[in-house]
Amino acid sequence: MAQKGYFYCPLICIEYEIEMGSNVKREDLGHLLRREKEGGSTSFYQVVWRWHFYAGIIFTPFLIILAISGATYLFKPQIESIIYKDKYYVHEQGSSTLSPSEQVKKVKKSYPKSSVTSFTIYHDPKRTTEIGLIQGGKSVSVYINPYNGQIQGTLKEDDRFTEIFKKIHSELWIGGTPANRWVELTACWAAILLATGLYLWFPRKKAAIWGTLLPRLKRTGRTFWRDMHAVPAFWFSLLILSFIATGLPWSGVLGEEINQWAVKPKYANSFEEKPDSITYTKEIAKNIPWSNENLPVPVSSKGNYVPLGIDQIEEIAKQQKIKKPYTISFPENAEGVYTLSHSEHPTKLATIHVDQYSGAILSDVRFRDFGWLAQWIEVGIAFHEGRLFGLTNQILGLIVCIGIVGIVISSYIMWWKRRTTGKLGAPARSLDRNKTRIVFFLMLGFGLVMPLVGISILGVFLLDYFVISRWIPLTRWFG
């Protein structure tokens, strides 16, 4: 007869007897298997608390990083207009501007080895024109005074000060796909922290204002810090959730899926000859709205024509009433198109592909052409970036970021006060196996909606099964 072993996963809190594969005996786990009369709990509360605790321990350090980098990046326009003042603004506004082609010509003269890729015109008449170059494989922006043609400076895209915060916020500075996935995972688990936290916050016995809607300030110790954690977290929950939700469209896994759902290609204009491979707009042009990133790029007509110059493309932009600031991205090759794009005001978003020879509008997709879901997502993205309703929006974002940091700090203090030495200080597991499993499957339910969450839960399960559960001191430490 096969040897009976006892199997226990401390992280996920699942225990059961198995035939083989475990050398842990039930007696070894005696310390974990408290009876109800010894003060153990069988409630759902206990199970949810444990999930909330572990998710918090793992993801809150990253949540703080995201909150601080995000809060800084929110103020990108203000920060950049101060530190790049000499590059961004002209000293004196002239009466007439040089044509775009004249400006491009001047830039080409100064940077003969570079190729011009884009041309951005701003709304503010005091702003310089931003001309994008590729210089030795790197993206560089040149700022030229449109009134006198004087080049006021250059900026390498990677060296931009605010780019540091963007890089931290989107890929934890280290960069690459794993870091980007980890950010997504943090955002998803933050949503679960909110859901489980709200469950824990909800009054279990009778509704009381103090400790629920208002903190019990006169209490001391853990109760005080519990209120400083749970009460503000409740008030912030909706705002935090909206910032998480509006950030997810950028994520690599869930975001791509949202994009597939929200952006149906029904409005994409077809062109006569179907290309063998599709180029997407985000690959060839700058400052593209989220909804148009995967818009297929048409090809310019073949024929013995002279390519149009940027002045005529600017004329088309005026005729098409594209809102400033807009960017004209240059064709990459003989088949390429000019791409006009506005990506700032959600309801004015536009991406227009223009045949570089005839000036024909090959594809014109604006906010009004988006599906309702894409429209809402665009509004959400603008909200997330703090450009939906100006300074108020930015300050709201800042308050939420401060709130997140505060909630995390108070949670650490709570944990520290409860913690006993030599142990992680996790909440004791529930004694009710069925409730433990029900919650586990509810969590897997989140995992189906957010694929990375599902993968991470399975990962933790495997870690539990193969590593932690086989090492008694470790199971004791995890509690």
Partner: protein, 160 residues
């Protein structure tokens, strides 16, 4: 029971991933996109050999999809000599038949010229440019032209 449920979950994960990758393929299939706009195609036809001070008929053929455009609201030819866009002229074209519109024009002297047709039809505007050589032009001038054609025609100077 426990193992069985994990099994179900893993299967669901795989199915959902498979579904979304199927979705990818659907959007990548260009045939699924419906056509909203068909661009106007413009064919500018000029005699292969041009001499100065002789009158020529310049033609432009318009079509959308496979149908000729007979009801263009405006067709104009803009013709200018290299580097002299400001001195260029605009001539309104006459509709002949089957989407062919023509103007009569003579070039004042030797040189490189640009012919641009401004076409407004069916709510769209297109304006392709063709480069032509009239009479004798030195190799060098021709070469300087074809290197960067797009910037030669933009010397319109100040605006706003």
């Amino acid at each position: 029971m426990w193992k069985w449920m994990i099994g179900v979950f893993v299967t669901m994960m795989i199915v959902s991933t498979a579904c979304s990758s199927k979705g990818d393929k659907a959007t990548q299939d260009p045939k699924q996109q419906t056509s909203f706009m068909q661009p106007i195609e413009v064919g500018i036809q000029v005699p292969s050999q041009l001499e100065p001070k002789k009158e020529y008929v310049l033609q432009v053929h318009l079509q959308q999809g496979k149908a000729a455009i007979d009801d263009a609201s405006d067709v104009q030819f803009e013709i200018w000599k290299k580097d002299q866009l400001n001195k260029g002229k605009k001539i309104k074209a006459q509709h002949e038949q089957n989407g062919v519109y023509t103007v009569k024009n003579s070039f004042p002297g030797d040189g490189v010229y640009y012919i641009q047709t401004h076409v407004t039809a069916h709510g769209m505007h297109v304006m392709p440019v063709k480069m032509v050589v009239v009479g004798h032009v030195s190799e060098q001038e021709l070469k300087s032209e074809t290197d960067q054609p797009s910037h030669q025609m933009n010397g319109s100077g100040h605006h706003h």
